[in-house]
Amino acid sequence: MARFIVRRIGQMLLVLFAVSALTFLIFNVIPGGDPAVRMAGRHPDPGQLARIRAEWGFNDPVYVQYLKTMQKTFTGDLSSYTTNVDVVDELRKRAPRTFALAIGAAIIWMLAATAIGLYTAARAGRFADRSITILALVGISMPVFWVGALMNYYLGFKWGIFPNGGYVPFADDPWEWFYHLIMPWTALSILFIGVYSRVLRSNILDTINEDYVRTARAKGLSERRVMYRHVLRNSLIPIVTLWGLDFGAVLGGGTILTETVFDIQGVGQYAAESIGQLDVPPVLAITLFGSFFIVLLNTVVDILYAAIDPRIRLQ
């Protein structure tokens, strides 16, 4: 176990290095993206440009620039090219918003999908099951930004049922925080509810024909206990791993569209804005932030999987 964790941490660091280097490289091959030009303003004179280049180290070789940027990221004085805002501070300010969105949505989609999966499996082949299965596919087929925009327009702007975008910190007003997040949570969850309920449904239908479920019935357990202790629990094992991976993906950048549509001002929206302005430092920091969660959750899921399914051995 200890050896497994050490090895995985090593792998994580390698992947994070590769991700950050790749991101840096992507933005350094952009010829039109010379940050000095943009920082100098509208009519830069050559002297000004040269000063900026020297000051920001744009004349150094790419790997030196990369190393310096990385060093600044971890010492916490990484500045944006465009706004002179400290990137790490900005991330710290925005992260809670993204966490609130991702965690809430993850809980909602898991609970909803479990309920729907159970319901459709119990009615497999009947009308309710078939129509819900189609609905789940509709959910998978809708772009989140489209659903979000329409929700925002109709439920928010036109009918005024929910606030029209924005975010209120929990500490300011818990109710408003919750109220503002209902629509973003829902929009973000729809896709996952569609995916998970279908996976769970088919898992349950596979599990219910297992011999050990028949054994459970033969033991004289109540139908409820058979369903929850034996069928549902075993059906959920693969879902839990999926959930961990998706939660990581959502935390690590999967909220970019939802945040933009609902103006949450979290890390995802920061990414969209920074990329649009070719502002490399925040993009780099955000990519690292995102990849960190993706890789971390991957590892957590492996450990979790081994914990809930004793047949799996960590290696």
């Binding site: 011999d211 050990y212 028949r214 033969a218 033991k219 004289g220 357990l221 629990r233 004793p310 047949r311």
Partner: protein, 347 residues
């Protein structure tokens, strides 16, 4: 004969499937008394497993239809409510399944799985339930039971898992133990141990045992009485000696003839009954064995009742031939009984 413990009468089970209604069990009747081992023999699809599982309500589904009765202690199990059956399952009637590899929940410790059954029927604190599980595991011959109680099924061999299944079945001292092909998935040496275990448990607890099997070797080893099933019906029923030394139904002859024997010279070709069992969705009129039977005659288009034709009254069969015809017609090879193949029957 004293009042039987379990008395099954005219049990019928049918399922609605894509291919139409499948009559899996078609009028099965038998009695079983305390401490008795009844073997139900037949090939796959003869309805023996379905009959056994129906006694515990394990075949209940929206697509299944039942009729007949199974009286257990003055109560009909076939018409009993689901809730009532829950109390019966595991506590009064317990079952051992065919495949020990897949019959235990792979992600639960074996101890917990047995405790779960005990606590479903008795309000026993965890510690005491665990104590009982340790005793049970020791009783079925699992070494170091106290340590192994917290193992997972995948950490056991097939034979050990089947012992766990037996311990599970015995955990609430059932009066009836149904063993559905308990040894099919196991090695021959393990088979013998498991059978020995079932027999000694019968001796200790006085439980009635219904042993579902297609293996006549197992039957000869352990059974007191035998019921032979074919295409959903019992075609012959009697004591072990009746069935093995004076078989009345041509199908039984065929079954007995197909046993390979190590004490006899090996035949050039393994004897087999010609033809295939009928589809349960589309069976022949009258005697179901008719198309494969070399002794078929006009009367066979009528269903022969299961009744005593041999003197003594305890040996029942479903064949229109007279006892004398049967005794002279069955092919008695030196020391064994067989069935001629039917002329013109499909191989």
């Amino acid at each position: 004969m004293p009042e039987p413990l379990l008395s099954v009468r005219d049990l019928e089970v049918s399922f609605a499937t894509d291919e139409g209604v499948v009559q899996a069990v078609d009028g099965v009747s038998f009695d079983i008394g305390q401490g008795e081992i009844l073997a139900v023999v037949g090939e796959s699809g003869s309805g023996k497993s379905v009959s056994a599982m129906t006694l515990m309500g394990l075949t209940r589904s929206p697509n299944a239809r039942f009729s007949g009765s199974a009286m257990y202690k003055g109560e009909d199990l076939i018409s009993a409510s689901d809730e009532r059956l829950q109390d019966v399952r595991g506590a009064e009637i317990a079952m051992i399944f065919q495949d020990p590899m897949s019959s235990l929940n792979p992600v639960q410790k074996i101890g917990a799985q047995i405790v779960e059954q005990i606590q479903a029927h008795e309000a026993l604190p965890d510690a005491q339930a665990r104590e009982r599980v340790v005793e049970l595991l020791e009783r079925v011959g699992i070494p170091r039971a106290r340590e192994r109680i917290d193992s997972y099924p995948f950490e056991f061999s097939g034979g050990m898992r089947q012992r766990v299944m037996i311990a599970l079945a015995l955990s609430c001292d059932p009066n009836v133990l149904i063993a559905d092909e308990p040894t099919t998935a196991l090695d021959v040496t393990i088979q013998a141990q498991i059978l020995q275990r079932i027999r000694s448990l019968r001796d200790e607890t006085g439980a009635a045992v219904i042993l579902v099997t297609h293996d006549l070797g197992v039957v000869a080893d352990i059974a007191d009485r035998v019921a032979v099933m074919y295409a959903g019906r019992i075609v012959e029923q009697g004591s072990l000696d009746d069935i093995f030394y004076d078989p009345q139904h041509p199908y039984t002859w065929g079954l007995l003839g197909s046993i390979t024997r190590v004490d006899k010279p090996r035949p050039a070709r393994l004897p087999a009954i010609a033809g295939l069992p009928p589809s349960l969705a589309d069976r022949p009129e009258g005697c179901h064995f008719r198309p494969r039977c070399p002794h078929e005659f006009a009367k066979c288009t009528e269903v022969p009742p299961l009744e005593a034709r041999v003197e003594g009254g305890q040996h029942l069969d479903r064949c229109w031939l007279t006892v004398e015809q049967k005794r002279s017609d069955r092919e008695v090879l030196p020391g064994e009984i067989g069935l001629r193949s039917k002329e013109g029957a499909p191989a």
